[in-house]
């Protein structure tokens, strides 16, 4: 089985689906001849031509708006927003048009657009190349939100997303784009949306995380293990729809919860997880829910390592929660 990084896995998924389904088109800034700023669309222009792999103007509302129109006609557009930080100019298109289309047309018009975008910090990107905007989209009914952490899931989840009938925000963890390597099957397979994965079994407490932070939490677990703790790590993979059953099952088993994400703490996705646990597993808890998150500041340039939850910070939270 070939070993790939996440970029190669995304590229492989796009090629596979474009060969299989002529309705799939790719559009975005620099995605054509240049092959994408992170090379995720490399080789697509050469293989599929300019009618299926379109360089666009720097106009995010235009990119997403056009993609919605394409989907209404019956295509399967996969627009790329070059950095998740640039998604905000398209926010109106996503929230007011894309997410509501099926609903406000009484089911007449599905809009299956899959928006791929690299998110997150840890690359010294500063304010405008580091943000994690997932909470804005999870708050919007009608969208699905997917965040893989590794090449196998990236390919399988992307294929599921493109084949689904709903719009998907597909957040790719750019910090581990190349660092996260693993075996990826050649050819077709899917990973269904809405299924979390236990990436480390443990008995003592539950760590809930997703995306690039999964790797941080796995490192923290090694430290914790050396110190005598036994955390279970649940990687959500899909934030919306959430695999609530897997989350709650783990929480009921361990009675202790650490939630880790890069985005700012206030109203971050962890707040929703904490509320879910409070609503449905409160009596199982033996310690307060512990959130390890980005600070409630703009994403900092020089101080990004202070801002981002590190393995040390997560390990400290594990210790605090396990010994409460």
């Amino acid at each position: 089985m070939p070993v790939m990084n996440i970029i190669q896995a995304v590229n492989d998924a796009l090629k596979l689906e474009m060969r299989r389904d002529a309705r799939v088109v790719v559009l975005g800034e620099d995605v054509g001849k240049f092959g994408g700023v992170f090379r995720a669309t490399s080789g697509l222009f050469e293989e599929f031509g300019k009618d299926r792999v379109m360089d666009t103007p720097l106009a995010e509302a235009g990119i997403i708006g056009a993609a919605i129109g394409m989907a209404l006609y019956g295509l399967r557009p996969v627009p790329e927003i070059q950095f998740a930080d640039f998604i905000y100019p398209a926010y109106d298109q996503i929230v007011n048009e894309l997410a509501k289309f099926r609903y406000r047309s009484g089911g007449q018009y599905p809009a299956p657009v899959v928006i791929r975008t690299p998110y997150g910090g840890g690359i010294r990107g500063g304010h405008y190349h580091s943000q994690s905007p997932e909470a804005y989209f999870v708050h919007t009914p009608g969208l699905k939100v997917v965040v893989p952490s590794n090449p196998y899931d990236a390919k399988g989840l992307l294929l599921s997303a493109i084949r689904g009938e709903d719009p998907v925000i597909f957040l790719e963890p750019k910090r581990v784009y190349r660092a996260a390597r693993g075996e990826v099957p050649e050819g077709d397979y899917t990973v269904p949306l809405g299924e979390a994965k236990i990436v480390r079994s443990g008995s003592q407490l539950t760590v809930l995380t997703y995306g690039a932070m999964t790797h941080t939490c796995l490192e923290a677990a090694k430290q914790s293990e050396a110190a005598g703790f036994d955390p279970e790590i649940v990687e959500l993979r899909t934030l919306l729809p959430l695999d609530a059953e897997t989350v709650l099952q783990s929480v009921r088993k361990t009675g202790r919860v650490v939630i880790a994400h890069e985005a700012p703490k206030t109203c971050g996705y962890g707040a929703e997880l904490a509320a879910l646990i409070a609503e449905r597993a409160l009596l199982s808890l033996e310690a307060p829910i512990n959130r390890v998150a980005g600070f409630d500041t703009p994403f900092p340039y020089t101080l990004e390592n202070e801002y981002l939850p590190s393995p040390d910070r997560v390990a400290a939270a594990i210790k605090q929660t396990a010994t409460f």
Partner: protein
């Protein structure tokens, strides 16, 4: 004009007059129902602007696409929709155009390629470009008509959409229904360059600008733009000067316009003009027109009865169209 052509023009104008009058009567009735509390939300009437949507859409073939605005009752009917579907949707009934899920600004008819109303001013312009792209990509000769008001012109999305259409040579006609007021503010206070079509030159699209009270003239102008789009793939930015006789929405008393101004524009009412032409130029009898108008009245009354008697969507339906498979959303507990 040959006798045959004259007859076909008479038939055409009679049909366009019928559509315009039906739209007007539906909207007048909607205003009454709104006052009675039977229609909720916001209601934007296009009374006075009927020749624009009716003339423009009459230039299309059935597989062409129409993307409307939030003032789109007329567009929906001109694209073949019924008074019943409109009225029931305004009433929020399950039998409405969008099954009661949309309301006034959300009239969709997938089978007739009526791509809805849009409540975010200008937001639909890039989306219309995407529809036009898809038609071209699929090798179909379908053209997309994208309507918008003068208030859309300063919006970023308008420029992003038209920019993409010009760049990719998409089969689309952008139609600015310039009713001269962005809600309550006159154009000269919102646009530095009053001629909307001057924007065309920056985006390599053709342009056309004319007054919109003559429904046949509107049809002719738009037909030329549609042909250009279909044959050459060049988009056109069209500006039609028009006027709404009522306020922006039902809650707008329209104090920013003088009575004299409104009366002056009412003299150019395209619905009355079409009626007059049918009589004077095409020898249609008063009896014939009165009978046509009685039919329309009956149709509107039937639409009201239908809307009144139709059921609301079931409460359980509130979850139904959020996702393709409603059971895939575990939050429904």
């Amino acid at each position: 004009m040959t006798a045959q052509r004259e007859e076909s023009t008479q038939v055409l104008l009679r049909e366009l007059y019928r559509q315009m009058l039906l739209i007007r009567r539906v909207e007048e009735q909607a205003a009454k129902a709104y006052a009675q509390g039977k229609i909720g939300g916001f209601l934007h009437l296009g009374i006075g602007q009927e020749p624009v949507c009716v003339g423009a859409i009459s230039a299309l073939k059935p597989t062409d696409y129409v993307v409307g605005t939030y003032r789109e009752h007329g567009h929906y009917i001109a694209k073949g929709g019924s008074a019943k579907e409109v009225m029931a949707e305004l009433y929020g009934k399950a039998t409405g155009a969008s099954k009661g899920f949309g309301g006034s600004m959300h009239l969709f008819a997938a089978e007739r390629r009526m791509m809805g109303g849009y409540g975010i001013v200008g937001g639909h312009v890039p989306l219309a470009a995407g529809i036009a792209f898809a038609a071209k990509y699929r090798g179909k000769d379908d053209v997309t008509l994208c309507f918008f008001g003068d208030g859309s012109v300063p919006q970023g999305a308008f420029h992003e959409g038209i920019s993409i259409a010009g760049l990719w040579k998409l089969p689309i006609v952008f139609i600015c229904e310039n009713n001269q007021y962005s809600m309550g503010t006159p154009l000269y206070r919102t646009l530095a360059v009053a001629d909307v079509t001057e924007r065309a030159s920056g985006y390599a699209v053709a342009r056309d600008r004319f007054s919109g009270e003559d429904v046949l003239a509107v049809r002719q102008h738009i037909a030329a733009a549609v042909e250009r789009a279909r044959q050459t793939g060049q988009p056109t930015l069209v500006e039609v000067i028009t006027y709404r006789f009522r306020g922006h929405s039902m809650s707008d008393p329209g104090n920013y316009r003088t009575k004299d101004e409104i009366e002056e524009w009412k003299k150019r009412d395209g619905v009355a003009l079409a009626r007059e032409r049918l009589k004077t130029e095409f020898a249609v009898s008063e009896d014939d027109l009165v009978s046509l108008e009685a039919h329309i009245r009956a149709e509107v009354q039937e639409a009201v009865r239908f809307a009144d008697e139709s059921p609301f969507p079931d409460a359980e339906e509130v979850w139904r169209y959020v996702y393709a498979d409603p059971s895939s959303d575990p939050r429904k507990f």
